[in-house]
Structures are given as structure tokens and as C-alpha cells.
């Protein structure tokens, strides 16, 4: 155990030097590190949000809304088709968000109705192997003229998947608009999005932006009835009663036609601006949108046009003249901030489904800074105390263990930098804990050496036997902690994962330093001094 081949010595020293080299960038400022030549290591330890401050938002895409939306649009199409063919029906509607149900009055026309409905399915793209394809709906006949329409499993899967992917894209655009540094937006699981925003002081604005679906539609007000009538339940078919988009209670309501003339999908730009000193939002359509907008304004001069965002009426100005240029402004009771936000939302586009915040963790920069300094002090103090203790207990051998501990810290820091693993507050705790536990391997060896000495072995033989006998114990003991760390990493989230990472790295590096580095030092010392007794 005490003989080291030259290449082994070189390897051990090489690893130690690498640890120091990879740790080095952490001692200079971030900017200096960034300017280092590319052949030098320049990665710094990645600080978790709990240390550098920032926001962690876990969002869920409410994918069921996409399915409901498709079913509702099917209801509209089925109504139109059946009416066109003069087929009598009752009870048309969406049942439990799963299917569209309709009962055909005349039994002999059920087949014809089913045929009509079947044609309403949208074609689906076949997969890579040319499988699938077909349409997205299944039409089935029940008893007594009942017809149910469901989406195929594949269609549901495709729609949900597309909704999540599109949502991630829209979330990214909205977050980018706000201009935070290095946001991270990742998909998590089936229908979740994890947004991490380092350094964000006030995540409220981002939450507000992400909380809106931002479906913008231009529709006409229904002037054939009054709001009072509608409140009593007399809403003409094809119209709905919508509230105004303000925070105030008892806000105005509007009866709005369901038909959408132009929607936000056709917008190409949107900017906050001022009109007669008030904040407004200007917009510009693409050519199709511009044409449709021109047509509707031309045909309806003098009538009010409702601008609807997420089912709430922003404003319903009178159309004074046809707007043919494809651009216009949205007026409303906006503050400057609200006008800004609306412009951002319109530029970034609408979310396919609403987002729900499942989890939010925001840490202010001062708490993060406090945690770092507390962690540093605790680390240094623990380190010094353990080093003194080891030196007192094992003398020269203790000093060897102390040097190994120093190398160990350099290796942990180097590994964290190279792997770009995230250091969190529990992660710092993991390092401090490692300081305490890392010496365990050396304690095992040194105690064993003492025992061997008591049996009358020569120093050389005692050290040799001490290392050899302690080795299996050391490995057995450390594997158990490593198992715990792996499980923590697998099942933990956020900061706890950071703890698992430092704990696991700490175990591996401490095994290396305690077994190899101290052994190298002690064997060199034994060779040079050839002591008659061991100072242990």
C-alpha cells in the first residue's frame, strides 16, 4: 500500500492541481473570469436562486382547456351544419368536457347527420411511419337518435403536446420582452413549465404577464338588445354577455356577438403610445388581418366595435370611419404600465391555454447575500476547527489529513465549477457536513494504525496494515452515504438537489483525498525519515 509508481504519483498530483486550477476562476470577478482566454478554465460555480436571489415559477399548462375549446368549436360547427341541412336536433352541447352530445329528432336522418358531423373533423398529420393521419374525431350513435362526438386519443395527445410546446415558446417571448438576464425556461413532466429568473427583484410583473392568456378578438356589439335584458337571461343566440376589463367592482357589461372578425393571431406589431395624452396601445395587422379589419370597419361605420381580451371587453369604441391601413389603436382606461404590458402580450402572442402557477419561490437579493456570507463563515470556521482538532488528535498525521481536507475543498469547488452544478444553501451545508465527515476515512486509517502499532508492528508495517485493513470499511461506509445522496438527487427538488450534488461530490473527492493523498504524503515521509516510532 505504501509503494507508489511514478505515474501514480503524477496522477494524484495532477488531479490535485486540476482541482486548484478549476477552482481558481471563482476567486476573480465574474467579468474577469469571462475575459479569460478560452484555453483557461473560466467556469464559475453556478449559484442557485436561493443564493443569488431570483424567482422560481412552476407553471402548469391547463391543457384541458384546449380540448374544451376544440369541442366547443365543434358544437358551433355542428349547429351550423344541422341548420343548413334542416335536420332537427335537441340537447346539443359539451358533456363533461369530454364529448359533444346531440340528439337528432328524426330517426331516419341520424345517418345523414353523422355523415355531416364526420366531415367536420380536422385532418391530422400522419406520424413518421405514415401511421395515424385520418381525422381528429370519432362519431358514435347511441340510443334514441343520440350522437356523441369524441376526439381520438391521438388527437387529444397531439393537441396537448402542441399546446405545451407553444406555451413554452410564448412564455419565453414574454419573459424576454421584460428583459431579465439569463432566464431559464424548461419543460417539466408532461404539462409543466419551469421558469427560473435569476436576479429578478419583483416577479409580480412577470407573473401578471404570464397570468394572461392574451386572446385578443375584435367583434361587434349586439345592439338588438340591452344589457339589462341580457342580465335577465334574454341573450340572443350568437351573442354573449361579457364584463369590462377593469379591476373595479360593478363594472360595465356588454352584449357582444360571438362572431370574431379579426383576432390577435393576425397582429404583427404592437406598441404602447399616447393618444391625446392618454396611454394607448397601437397595433398593426398582417395583410389578411388588415383586409378583414378594413372590411368590418367599412361595413359597420357608426356601430360600436368591441375589443375583447380573454373574455373581457377592453373598450367598445364607435367605428367612425373605415380603417383600411391595417393599423389602429386600442383605447381604454390604461395606466402607462398596463399599456406597456398589453403591448408586450400582443407582441408575444396568445397562449393556447391558460397557465396556472403551481409553485413560486422568490428570494430577495439581500437574503441570498446573507446566506452566502453565513455559509462562507460557517464553512471557514468549521474547516479551521476540524483542522485544529485533527492536528491535536493525530499530530503530524493529522496535519496530513488537514492538507488532504484542503485539497478536498479545492476538488469539490473545482468539480462544481466544471460540472456547472448549482450551488444552493443546502449545498453549502452539504460541503460543511463533508468537512466533518471527510476526515472519517483518515480517522479510520489512523485508529487502525494505532492498533497495529500496539500489536508491536514496525511503523512501516503498521501504516501498511492500517491502510489495507481500513480500506474495505471505508468503502462500505461511504457507499451507504452515496446511496442516500443519489436518492436525494432523484427525488429532491431545487435546493435539495443542490445538497445531494455537493454531498455526492464530497464523498467521492474525500475518498480520493483521504485514501490517496494522505497515503502519498505519509509514505514519502516514511521513506525519507525512516522513523523508529510513529508520532500518531
Amino acid at each position: 500500500m505504501l509503494y507508489f509508481a511514478k505515474w501514480k504519483v503524477a496522477l494524484v498530483l495532477g488531479i490535485c492541481v486540476l482541482g486548484v486550477v478549476f477552482t481558481a476562476p471563482n476567486f476573480v470577478s465574474q467579468q474577469t473570469a469571462g475575459n479569460l482566454p478560452s484555453w483557461l478554465p473560466h467556469n464559475q460555480i453556478n449559484l442557485g436562486l436561493d443564493l443569488q436571489g431570483g424567482s422560481h415559477l412552476l407553471l402548469e399548462v391547463e391543457v384541458d382547456a384546449v380540448i374544451t375549446e376544440r369541442l366547443e368549436s365543434l358544437v358551433d360547427s355542428i349547429r351550423t351544419e344541422l341548420r343548413k341541412e334542416r335536420i332537427g336536433y335537441t340537447g346539443l352541447g359539451v358533456a363533461q368536457g369530454q364529448a359533444v352530445i346531440v340528439r337528432i329528432r328524426q330517426a331516419d336522418r341520424v345517418d345523414q347527420a353523422m355523415e355531416l358531423i364526420r366531415d367536420l373533423g380536422s385532418p391530422m398529420a400522419p406520424d413518421l411511419f405514415g401511421q395515424g393521419g385520418g381525422v381528429d374525431i370519432e362519431v358514435a350513435a347511441g340510443t334514441a337518435g343520440q350522437v356523441s362526438v369524441t376526439l381520438t386519443e391521438q388527437a387529444i395527445f397531439d393537441r396537448k403536446k402542441a399546446a405545451v410546446e407553444q406555451s413554452i415558446e410564448i412564455v419565453r417571448r414574454r419573459v424576454d420582452e421584460v428583459g431579465t438576464r439569463e432566464p431559464s425556461i424548461q419543460r417539466q413532466g408532461e404539462d409543466r413549465i419551469l421558469v427560473q429568473l435569476p436576479g429578478v427583484k419583483d416577479p409580480d410583473r412577470i407573473k401578471r404577464l404570464l397570468g394572461k392568456t392574451a386572446k385578443l378578438t375584435f367583434r361587434l356589439l349586439d345592439t338588438t338588445t340591452t344589457v339589462e335584458d341580457a342580465r335577465r337571461g334574454h341573450i340572443p343566440p350568437g351573442s354573449v354577455l361579457l364584463g369590462a376589463d377593469t379591476q373595479e367592482d360593478g363594472a360595465a357589461q356588454y352584449v357582444v356577438r360571438k362572431r370574431v372578425y379579426v383576432s390577435g393571431e393576425n397582429l404583427v406589431d404592437s406598441q404602447p403610445t399616447y393618444d391625446q395624452g392618454r396611454p394607448v396601445v397601437s397595433f398593426r395587422f398582417d395583410s389578411i388581418g388588415g383586409k378583414r379589419f378594413g372590411d368590418v370597419t367599412k361595413d359597420n361605420v357608426g356601430r360600436p366595435l368591441a375589443i375583447v381580451l380573454d373574455g373581457k371587453v377592453i373598450s367598445a369604441p364607435q367605428i367612425r370611419e373605415p380603417i383600411l391601413g391595417g393599423s389602429g389603436i386600442i383605447t381604454g382606461s390604461f395606466s402607462v404600465q398596463q399599456a406597456n404590458d398589453l403591448a408586450v402580450l400582443l407582441r408575444a402572442g396568445a397562449l393556447p391555454a391558460p397557465l396556472k402557477i403551481l409553485e413560486e419561490r422568490t428570494v430577495g437579493p439581500d437574503l441570498g447575500a446573507d446566506s452566502i456570507s453565513a455559509g462562507k463563515i460557517a464553512g471557514v470556521l468549521a474547516f479551521v476547527f476540524v483542522m485544529i482538532f485533527m492536528a491535536l488528535a493525530y499530530g503530524l498525521f493529522g496535519l496530513a489529513a488537514d492538507i488532504a481536507l484542503l485539497v478536498n475543498i479545492a476538488l469539490i469547488a473545482g468539480a462544481l465549477s466544471v460540472l456547472q452544478a448549482t450551488l444552493t444553501l443546502p449545498g453549502i451545508a452539504g460541503i460543511v457536513l463533508t468537512i466533518g465527515m471527510a476526515v472519517d476515512a483518515n480517522v479510520l486509517v489512523f485508529e487502525r494504525i494505532r492498533e497495529e502499532l500496539r500489536t508491536g508492528k514496525t511503523p512501516f508495517a503498521a501504516v501498511e496494515a492500517g491502510y489495507r485493513r481500513a480500506l474495505t470499511t471505508i468503502i462500505d461506509a461511504n457507499v451507504t452515504t452515496l446511496i442516500a445522496a443519489i436518492l436525494l438527487f432523484e427525488f429532491g427538488s431545487g435546493p435539495v438537489k443542490g445538497f445531494a450534488v455537493t454531498l455526492a461530490i464530497g464523498i467521492i473527492t474525500s475518498l480520493f483525498t483521504a485514501i490517496t493523498v494522505t497515503r502519498l504524503m505519509i509514505s514519502q515521509w516514511l521513506r525519507q525519515r525512516r522513523p523508529a516510532a510513529l508520532p500518531i
Partner: protein, 318 residues
């Protein structure tokens, strides 16, 4: 040269004469922990119960009762305030608001507004956390699963490396440590959150680590002293490793105590759990794990089945 020795170089303490008492003590503490846990449950943090947590930094020493009365008028349900680390820091916990995420945000905004009215000077919001019911349920599941898997993994590993009797002893000792940790958290009403699960898993690792070292020596001595009665052999093994057990516990405790004192309030719960776990783990590997081997039918043939494998390992190591 004078060396710091926690225990004399060669001890012969009769641990195994006390083991019945130790069993009673441990058994009593385990039953008490489980009973108290069933009766009083744990003080779950928002990680597991859902809800809103706000850590506020006030310009001067915070008047908690004044803040409490300001917030209780908001109709947000149960609100808990506590000083956190320093007297200028207050932790506010608000129960989860009925409704969607917008309702939670409104509650946070209402708290901020009420505090701004009540406190002169700038308030810093050091931490704002919200955990929804879906996520908290998942965290409970993941935490439980991880803990159970950790125990099973230890069982399998020790079974693989030793004999099944050792695995049983180690796992009983480790369950003992986890149960007592849960008991102390139930008793002290300290917040039980995700970092405590991390601490428990680390305790699992540490406890087994400690036990393995003693077991390793028992296995070695089983081969060395073929005629020695098992009880005496266990006692010798514990005494052989006593110096190491105390040294490692002390260095780990030095690090943990430093962290507890200067590490800040955020990880206080974690370090408290770890300190407790190290103390209990050290106790259990001496007084629970080793004496248990008397009762699990550990035959002397254990030493026969081992050698070939051990020689291989020793040869590799050499």
C-alpha cells in the same frame, strides 16, 4: 507528544451488560415518538401543506403583535407570524387561499399593502414562496418514497456485503434513528419541510455508515476469535471501534454546530435535525445495532462464508 484523546487507547467498557436497559430506553423513545407523532402530528411547512410564506425584513426591530393585528383584519384565514433569526426579520405564513393562483397573488399583495401602511420605512421582502396543493402532495409522495427507498437500499447493500442478520440489525437501528428524529420534530414543533427530508436521508446514510464500521469489526473479530462467546465478541468490537466512532462524531458535530450557530436561520432546522441524527446515530450503532446481533440468530458460520471473498478484496486493496 501529548495527543488529544476522547477515549483511552484501549477500553473495555461493558456495553453489552447494559444492552437490555438500552433496548428498553430505545423502545420507549420509539413508542413515545410514534405516539406523540400520531397525536400531535408535525408542524408541516408550506412545502408539504401548501400555502404562502413571506419573509419580511423591517427597518427597525419588528413589533410582531402589531403586525399580527394589522394582518388579521385581512380575512386571509389562519396567519402565523414568528421572529426569524433576527429581531428585524419576521416570517409570515398564510394558509392557502381558496381559488386559483390569482387568489394567492392577491393575498400576497394584500399582506404587502397592509404592512406598508403599518410600518414606516422600507420593508424588504426577503422571500416570498407559494406552494400549491398539487405540488405539495407530490413533494410529500416524493419525500416518503425517497426515505423508504433509502432504507430498502441500505438493507440490500448490507445484505449483499455482510449477512442478512447484519442487514436486519442495521435497518432496525436506522429506523430507530429516523423515528426518533420525527419524534423530536413533533415534540419541538420545529417546521418540517423539504430540507428536513434531506436531513433525514443524510441521517440514514450517516447512521448506516457508523453501523457498518462497527459491523465490519464484528465480522473481522468473528474470524479472529473463533472461540469467544458472541456477547463478549460484540463488546470487544464496539470497544475496538469506540475511538473512531467518537472521533468522527465529534468532527461532524464540530462542523454541524458551527453551521447551526453562524449558518443563518434558513438552514437552522436542517442543522438541528442533523445534529440530533448524529447523536442518535452514534448511540444506536453502539447500543442498538450491535447488541441486536445477539437476537437475530447470527451463527458462527458467518465467519466461514466470508474469508474467500475477503481475501480477494484484501488482495485487490494491497
Amino acid at each position: 507528544m501529548i495527543r488529544l484523546r476522547l477515549v483511552p487507547a484501549k477500553t473495555n467498557i461493558g456495553f453489552l451488560t447494559q444492552h437490555i436497559r438500552a433496548f428498553f430506553l430505545s423502545g420507549f423513545l420509539c413508542v413515545a415518538s410514534i405516539g406523540y407523532f400520531l397525536w400531535a402530528d408535525l408542524n408541516y411547512g408550506i412545502d408539504f401543506e401548501g400555502g404562502i410564506l413571506i419573509e419580511v425584513g423591517t427597518p427597525g426591530p419588528a413589533d410582531i403583535s402589531q403586525m399580527r393585528s394589522a394582518l388579521s383584519g385581512l380575512n386571509l384565514g389562519e396567519i402565523a407570524l414568528q421572529e426569524f433569526g433576527r429581531n428585524t426579520e419576521v416570517l409570515i405564513r398564510v394558509e392557502r387561499q381558496p381559488g386559483d393562483s390569482a387568489a394567492q397573488q392577491l393575498a400576497v399583495a394584500a399582506v404587502k399593502e397592509a404592512l406598508a401602511k403599518e410600518i414606516t420605512g422600507e420593508i424588504s421582502y426577503r422571500r416570498v414562496e407559494y406552494v400549491g396543493p398539487k405540488v405539495s402532495a407530490e413533494l410529500v409522495r416524493a419525500g416518503t418514497l425517497a426515505s423508504v427507498l433509502a432504507v430498502v437500499a441500505m438493507l440490500v447493500y448490507i445484505w449483499f456485503r455482510f449477512e442478512w442478520q447484519f442487514a436486519v440489525g442495521a435497518v432496525l437501528a436506522l429506523v430507530h434513528d429516523v423515528v426518533l428524529t420525527i419524534g423530536i420534530f413533533s415534540l419541538t414543533r420545529l417546521e418540517f419541510n423539504l430540507s428536513i427530508i434531506a436531513a433525514i436521508l443524510t441521517i440514514v446514510g450517516y447512521s448506516v455508515n457508523d453501523t457498518v464500521v462497527v459491523y465490519d469489526r464484528i465480522r473481522e473479530n468473528l474470524r479472529k476469535y473463533r472461540r469467544m462467546p458472541l456477547k463478549e465478541l460484540l463488546n470487544v468490537s464496539i470497544n475496538d471501534t469506540l475511538s473512531r466512532t467518537t472521533m468522527t462524531s465529534v468532527t461532524t458535530l464540530i462542523a454541524l454546530l458551527t453551521l447551526y450557530v453562524v449558518g443563518g436561520a434558513v438552514i437552522e432546522g436542517f442543522t438541528f435535525a442533523m445534529i440530533w441524527g448524529v447523536l442518535v446515530g452514534t448511540y444506536s450503532s453502539i447500543f442498538v445495532a450491535a447488541p441486536l446481533l445477539l437476537y437475530v440468530g447470527l451463527g458462527r458460520d458467518v465467519s466461514e462464508s466470508g474469508p474467500s471473498e475477503d481475501k480477494g478484496a484484501a488482495a485487490d486493496a494491497g
